[in-house]
Symmetry: none
Subunit: 424 residues, 2 copies
């Protein structure tokens, strides 16, 4: 099925925000077996939106729009689409109930113009929202479809995953099945090089690599008459890929590393505490993104000063003076000091130079040390990212911390000798 994506919103044309929705939808639609022929971006202007709808449905069987479903005056996607599809807007009673409940919950922050959102095309299939207040919908006319979704990415992606994807799947003859492998410790170019023979030979399943910040992923998709055939083909190919890439593959279900580790900790009842310097609380923040983590997470200490490192974790002044705060011994003392204080099963630490400034010849921006105490042993790992961006280095260090924990829990190697210290 051929389709087009229309992003509605003057803020996009002003260049204020990046259109992540269009990228997300392009990828999802391709994976579902839909061909995306065009993407359009248009401002909050009904005449122009109508013109684009006309053009797109000339070539395509389906158009997906994002944006312009909100409560304010300039939101006009719904009105334009209804008119274009020869339909009218009517009060949709279930949506009114959803809104009344939302209003009750939120009290006075809820304004009357929100009620504009209960008007929907009379013949449409409605997709409720679980994140925002604007429902989505699908209109059909003469075998052509227009699917409208809200613009805020959190609302759109949630609605797509829960409602639109199953709807689109139900319209396809073949079934698509896919898995996304997540990889930390090998870059996209290296992953692609290692998989080159498989990629060159691909027909079905298809294999695509994607770069993410500090990590990458491989998506394996198959389109077959039955789910079973497609799933078997994908699982088989994933097995081959994992054999080639080795233990840097940490998930084959597109989970975040924090989620994978958090889930394992909760399942095993393994308690954890953390001591952070350069990451400034980001490790604790990511770990506590995981619902239910309060079962096992005891405490986190962000020691941004030398005094805090000494007072909270028992790091010694002589080590700070002789080796500086960015050193394997400080990472070790941080982890062991935390273990002595908390008694948590796993105590993880990090100290380093996040940048953009503060680097020296011996301790360049992007250098950091992670320590981890587990079952009476402490291991310290040194990393140099060779990057200068503060956010990159901080996030990289957080992923390395999760990776170390994951490897310890699974009994895997913590990589190459010379960058490892500790009382193993």
């Amino acid at each position: 099925m051929k389709c087009a994506i229309i992003s509605v919103g003057t803020e996009l044309l002003m260049g204020q925000i990046v259109d992540t929705n269009a990228v997300f939808l392009s990828r999802e639609l391709n994976t579902l077996g839909y061909d995306v022929l065009y993407r359009y971006t248009v401002g909050d202007n009904d005449g122009r939106l109508e013109q684009i709808l006309e053009l797109a449905l000339n070539d395509c069987d389906m158009v997906l729009t994002t944006g312009g479903l909100g409560p304010t005056e300039d939101d006009m996607t719904k009105e334009t689409v209804a008119r274009f599809m020869d339909d009218v807007l009517v009060e949709y009673l279930p949506a009114k109930e959803w809104l009344l409940k939302a209003k009750e919950r939120r009290g006075k922050t809820f304004t009357d113009n929100n009620f504009k959102q209960i008007l929907l095309p009379s013949k449409s299939t409605v997709f409720p929202t679980q994140v925002g207040t604007a429902p989505g919908f699908c209109c059909e006319k003469d075998g052509k479809y227009v699917i409208c979704m809200p613009g805020p990415p959190r609302e759109m992606t949630d609605m797509f995953k829960r409602r639109i994807r199953p709807f689109l799947e139900s319209m396809q003859d073949n079934v698509i099945y896919y898995r996304t492998l997540r990889i930390f410790g090998k870059g996209e170019s290296l992953v692609e090089t290692e998989l080159l023979d498989l990629i060159d030979a691909q027909t079905d399943p298809t294999i695509a690599t994607y770069a993410k910040m500090c990590e990458c992923s491989v998506r394996v998709a198959s389109k077959r008459p039955t789910l079973e055939e497609a799933a078997n083909a994908v699982v088989d190919m994933c097995g081959k890929i994992k054999e080639i890439l080795g233990d840097c593959v940490y998930s084959d279900e597109d989970e975040d590393l924090a989620e994978v580790v958090g889930r394992k900790l909760i399942a095993a009842g393994t308690t954890i505490s953390c001591a952070e310097s350069c990451t400034g609380g980001m490790f604790a923040s990511r770990l506590t993104d995981v619902p239910g983590i309060s079962e096992v997470f005891e405490r986190g200490i962000v020691t941004y000063t030398e005094r805090a490192k000494m007072e909270e974790l028992g790091v010694t002044r002589s080590v700070l003076e002789q080796e500086t705060a960015v050193s394997p011994t400080v990472a070790l003392q941080m982890a062991e000091g935390l273990a002595a204080k908390t008694g948590s099963d796993i105590c993880i630490s990090v100290t380093g130079v996040a940048g953009p400034s503060g680097g020296t010849g011996e301790h360049p921006v992007g250098q950091y040390f992670c320590g981890c105490t587990y079952k009476g042993k402490t291991i310290v790992k040194k990393v140099e990212t060779h990057h200068h961006e503060r956010d990159f280095n901080r996030y990289h260090a957080v992923l390395t911390m999760f990776d170390m924990i994951n490897r310890l829990l699974e009994g895997m190697e913590i990589r190459s000798g010379k960058d490892i210290w500790g009382n193993q």
Copy 2:
């Protein structure tokens, strides 16, 4: 002048890469006073590109394309544009010289198909490249313009800054100036309601509201013959808006609240420490996003258990038993315990129910208490978000913490009486 942007490249439609070119060009064109009416993305397909050119030049005076100027078979932008503008491709001799020089520099990585790039529309204005090997150009027909640029972002942005921007400036009568106000504490609907008279009456400057997670922004833009006139009109309108919205406007330069607060703390040399429960380190993580914050950030404690609250911050067992961990007294004890321990000028705390589960009748999901000790006084604020999403509630609490600090630093009110406790 009205214009459209066309991004050419099948890889964009597959969702493999984010179209940063379109965002860059949108912003640049708007700043130059060009109205961007549409953005289109089309694959490497000449028929579809021609159709889009036709549609775009129907409404617009100018089209800018990126991509499809390279040496490979699927690059066909130049051929399509030349045909569409009634021109032919000819060997452009200066381009041949540039290429010969590039070939000399690069040696064997230079392939013969690069010479496809010396063919350019005979009547075009040519823009040399200093980064890649594909020149850009501008064709004109009947007062309509098509400007073609290479697709790789480094090549495109360099060519735009050096060649295209001066070219476009020379064609313009007006300039654009804009500011973005950032708001915490009022939702988009409420902001729009309060600004309705101004929005309804808008001609120039224009006013537009945008929703972000837990906050919103207002963009004010003016297009005038001189930068000074445009800037004056915008500053004047921002003043009116701030008068209406009050002190919930925390920036008129589109800065994050964490950045605003971090900058103020660093400038004043005001030291800070934090004690977090439900936000799990997210406050510390956001604060330490700010470069240079190590000057003033002393430490952060994430006390996820009652034991950690007692040991680290001196929260008393009797209060935990009588009032539970989610209570104003615990938030107060956390902030004051931290102040006693660290002596930091500002000690901020938070305890609450992030969700999605764990709520009770008395302490529903989304309820949290923030405490702040400053100049010997502690203030505690209660918030109920009425949201169930863990990430929303955590982020909302973090913004409230920054907002409290901002208000204390500026001597502003910490809002309504009944939700405030403390030894003020």
